[in-house]
């Protein structure tokens, strides 16, 4: 039951983060938000008995992707990114 409540909460946070990612003023924030979405996803994966996936998501989906994003953002120096 706790797992379910936790899952619901995490799910809601994910969805709101996703919406935040689309509405954020700065692209950086959007990228960060999407990184958080991935991160939370990896927690949910743990709840769903998928530790392998959780690790991968955390390392790649959340970590690396965000890093690559920031690299690119750094290369594009603009006020609104």
């Amino acid at each position: 039951m706790i797992a379910i409540i936790l899952a619901i909460v995490l799910g809601l946070v994910m969805i709101s983060m996703a919406i935040a990612a689309l509405t954020a003023y700065r692209v950086r924030a959007a990228v960060l938000a999407s990184g958080i979405v991935s991160l939370i996803a990896s927690i949910i994966y743990l709840l769903l008995a998928a530790p392998d996936v959780a690790m991968t998501e955390a390392a790649i989906g959340s970590g690396l992707t965000t890093i690559i994003f920031f690299y690119v953002l750094n290369k594009i120096r603009r006020s609104d990114v």
Binding site: G11, A18, L22, V27, S34, A41, I76
Partner: protein, 123 residues
Amino acid sequence: MEYLTLQNIGLVTGFMLMLIGLYGALTQKNILRIIVAFTIFDAGLNLVIVALSYIKGRVAPIIDQTTGVTNLSEKFVDPIPQALVLTSIVIGVGVTGVMLTFALRMFKTRHSLDINDFKQTKW
């Protein structure tokens, strides 16, 4: 209440993320945001897949002391979707990386990140 299972929560959340991601991909003007939206779509998709592998009350498909070596098919969750998601995540990062490089180059050619500025070819 009977629908309020972990799997269904995962599925619904995943679907929502997919839709949000798609909406973003179809409405955002900034190329980088479009890519962000696609990653959200991917995340939702992966969540759906993993959620499908889940069976209530079972454990991760890894043999250890707690599971023993017998009757594993009644103890484990489905390993296949998990394997698929592994692949899917890696593919996702590959595609995202490629798209980002494209975005970088597109920005270099036109000094813009607006998707509407890249309509050199049409009709």
